[in-house]
């Protein structure tokens, strides 16, 4: 009854590969599970905000397009809507041109700018959950938090004291709510980072190390599959029995 080492090479490979790639596999499944289990709309924070424009009463008269274009000739599009500022809902024109966006009063054509109180009032209107509690209003010009695309600077950040530590980001020129963030989005972002292994910008899915890990995990799976064939196809011997 001579024994030979049956210590399979495959198992050795499977173990060593798992030491390197298996750990990432765990991270992939944890981050994947998070992203899968939380509804994407919820992650996006769709439940946090609502529409705030309202039809403009027929009695409000607004300037003609001709008058608008006279004052602002380099305009590619004009939007007429209503917005809350200075303590009431007012008709505004939003102008888009090569130089970005600009807001003017639709009746007087006077330019509109927002101070902290305006922004807070607007954010509270955007906020869809009951009892908005604004914790802070911050005007960001540089050093944006990681959750914000730096191209959007300067921007108003309005932080709410709520379950998800909601932050709404409002355009400084139009008061429009551009970005919404809450804890579960932030969690998603971190797991996304872990999932794509771009720990820096969290966007690059083409890094060589991601590709290396995918390849390594692939080999790990192949060694695992071979072991599976070994262990499942051979009938299990009775425990400890030699017969």
């Amino acid at each position: 009854m001579t024994q030979v080492t049956r210590s399979s090479r495959w198992r050795v490979w499977h173990r060593w590969l798992s030491l390197i790639f298996g750990v990432q596999m765990v991270l992939w499944s944890i981050s994947g599970a998070y992203m899968v289990f939380f509804d994407l709309d919820y992650i996006h924070g769709d439940h946090l905000v609502q529409e705030i424009t309202q039809p403009i009463p027929a009695s409000t008269s607004v300037a003609t397009i001709g008058e608008v274009l006279n004052a602002h000739p380099h305009t590619q599009s004009v939007t007429l809507e209503s917005l809350w500022y200075d303590g009431r809902q007012q008709a505004v024109y939003k102008l888009t041109g090569h130089n970005g966006e600009q807001l003017i009063n639709a009746t007087t054509l006077a330019p509109i700018s927002f101070d902290e109180a305006d922004i807070e009032a607007l954010a509270t209107r955007y906020y869809a959950l009951p009892e908005p509690k604004v914790e802070s209003v911050v005007y960001l010009t540089d050093n944006p938090p990681t959750e914000l695309n730096p191209a959007l600077l300067p921007i108003w950040q309005v932080n709410f004291d709520d379950f998800g530590s909601t932050s709404l980001y409002l355009s400084e020129s139009t008061g429009e709510m551009l970005v919404k963030r809450h804890t579960f989005w932030r969690g998603f972002d971190i797991f996304w980072m872990i999932h794509i292994m771009d720990y820096d910008e969290r966007v690059d899915i083409e890094t060589w190390w991601l590709q290396a890990f995918i390849f390594g995990t692939f080999i790990l799976m192949i060694t695992g599959a071979v072991l599976l064939v070994y262990t499942i196809s051979f009938k299990r011997k009775p425990k400890g029995g030699a017969a």
Partner: protein
């Protein structure tokens, strides 16, 4: 851990296909990148013209009048032609900026739009009127599909009601789309990753990788990753579920893991082996499996060939002494053993199975009854549990079962020498010694035998009558803590001292000695035998560790 392994295996069987699909699709994503997958390789943004170039003839006041409920009214232009976009309670309407009528997109405009949004090398090959498109999931309105003849097979979808470019699609996009289907397990093309199928896959994957992680941690803690640490033969044989006994867990102290190396250069014996094995055994290639790492060139043979697993049923139980119980089992399958051997019992304990060894206390008998003597191991002090294996066996009721593997051991009678046989024992060591004495008695020419057995007082003696009546044995019980009222007339003191006194009168070369008993007794006896010059090859012992 067996459960973990089982779980890891079966979950992986179910999951491995999906994991491979995940990896393949991830490779596609990673190689193509966001831009490569977007279908926008040849797409360019259409900037509206300046409104002042062509003012609308239909005024915004007229739009307000016809759509008083509008939330938003947007004036822009489509390739220079003014257009109103009106939002009424979330729905967008598109009006011609000159007439106020619903916007119209004809084939020519669609072509012009498609061209304006395209900066690739191709020309328009075909324009087709469509209603929605399978490859544009959220779009089901009327419009155009403008096909370009280029290397990427670009097609541009134009929405008729708004005159807007809906999407660019091309071959890389289609490949990426399949990768998304595979990755998200959403074969509807909607690229949703919040649905039942992927939830279950996600859970499985979590189980799979976490059970793998646990196994990995076990491997690390076992030192499997230390490149210098190969498994010992004992570990290897245990992993392969080969019949090999060990009661010291590979410490080189129990001597149960004996194997024979059959290759030419047998490893040099370690210090532990020089203690546990006799010279003859060492020259015969016997080694302790726990002392040597597996080497590719090694070939190893197990000592016990007819080892098998047996299901034992308790038939009878009686107390021999206050601390030793005699248990009689029968086995469902035939068990051939030799006197002096033992079985490895599988003791269920909490969620695991422990291994404990018990020696057979008789020679094999016709009824295939298996007799053991088990010393009950009480807790040495309060707060410490009593012995697990002995308690389990002593609690066992007739009719109940226990699994045991064996037989193991080479605590056997010497062969073919006419030397004086000497048995020295104490405590639970009675079991193998009694079996050996019985075997000697049954042999054709029984050799003369002495049996020194140590106990503290006369209540601890067992099988006295049987041993005294055996014509071939001189039985010498020795008591170490005898009390007055016992009226003991026999030997007193330590059993090895009494044996020593007798052995001094003998020719040390002409005795075979068998020793089994508590560790201290065993140690003292071995020392005494060495001093008397009894050849190591003539000494056999069994270390119970108790």
């Amino acid at each position: 851990m067996r459960f973990m392994q089982w779980l890891h295996r079966w979950v992986s069987l179910i999951l491995i296909i999906q994991v491979v699909l995940w990896l393949i699709s991830a490779t596609v994503f990673s190689i193509m990148g966001h831009h490569g997958m977007s279908g926008h390789q040849y797409m360019r943004h259409i900037h509206p013209e300046m409104l002042a170039d062509e003012s609308p003839q239909w005024s915004i006041q007229q739009v307000r009048a016809t759509h008083p409920q509008a939330d938003t009214i947007l004036l822009t232009n489509v390739l220079g032609h003014p257009q109103y976009q009106v939002n009424v309670s979330g729905k967008w309407l598109y009006l011609d900026g000159h007439t106020g009528q619903p916007w119209q997109t004809d084939v020519n405009l669609a072509q012009a739009l498609a061209l304006a949004s395209y900066d690739g090398p191709g020309q328009i090959a075909e324009v087709e009127q469509v209603t929605g498109a399978a490859e544009v999931v959220d779009w089901s309105a009327a419009g155009y599909r403008v096909q370009f003849a280029d290397d990427l097979n670009t097609r541009v979808y134009v929405d008729a009601a708004s005159g807007q470019i809906v999407e660019h699609r091309n071959t890389p996009w289609t490949i990426a789309d399949w990768a998304f289907r595979l990755h998200f397990m959403d074969y509807s093309g909607e690229r949703s990753f919040n649905h039942l199928l992927i939830w279950s896959a996600g859970l499985f994957a979590l189980w799979f990788s976490l059970s793998g992680l646990m196994l990995l941690i076990r491997n690390i803690s076992q030192g499997d990753f230390n490149p210098r640490r190969k498994p010992t033969w004992l570990e290897q044989l245990q992993r392969d579920e080969k019949p090999i006994a060990s009661s010291c867990g590979g410490g080189g102290t129990c001597g149960l893991c004996k194997v024979t190396f059959t290759n030419n250069d047998v490893p040099t014996p370690t210090a532990a082996e020089k203690v546990m094995l006799s010279e003859a055994e060492l020259t015969a290639g016997l080694r302790l499996a726990c002392q040597h790492k597996v080497q590719a060139k090694d070939a190893v043979e197990l000592a016990n060939e007819n080892v098998a697993s047996h299901l034992l049923t308790l038939q009878n139980k009686r107390d021999l002494t206050p601390s030793i119980a005699e248990l009689t089992f029968t086995s469902a399958s035939r068990l051939d053993y030799q006197a002096g051997q033992f079985l490895q019992f599988k003791i269920p304990h909490e969620s695991t199975v422990l291994e404990r060894h018990y020696s057979l206390a008789t020679v094999p008998n016709a009824d295939n009854e298996l007799v053991f003597t088990v010393r009950h191991m009480p807790a040495p002090k309060s707060g410490v549990p009593a012995g697990v294996g002995s308690s389990f066996l002593c609690r066992l009721q007739p009719g109940e079962h226990v699994e045991a593997i064996g037989p193991f051991g080479d605590f056997l009678l010497t062969k073919a020498s006419s030397r004086q046989q000497v048995f020295i024992g104490g405590g639970a060591g009675i079991a193998p010694l009694r079996a050996l004495v019985q075997a000697e008695q049954q042999s054709t020419t029984p050799r003369p035998a002495m049996f020194f057995y140590g106990a503290r007082n006369s209540a601890e003696l067992c099988y006295t009558e049987e041993l005294e009546q055996n014509p071939h044995v001189t039985y010498v019980p020795v008591l170490s803590a005898v009390s007055e009222k016992e009226r003991w007339t026999g030997q007193t003191g330590f059993v090895h001292e009494v044996a020593e006194a007798w052995l001094r009168e003998q020719d040390a070369q002409q005795v075979d000695v068998y020793v089994c008993g508590p560790p201290l007794m065993l140690e003292a006896t071995m020392k005494m035998l060495a001093e008397l010059g009894v050849p190591r090859d003539h000494i056999k012992f069994d270390d119970f560790g108790i």
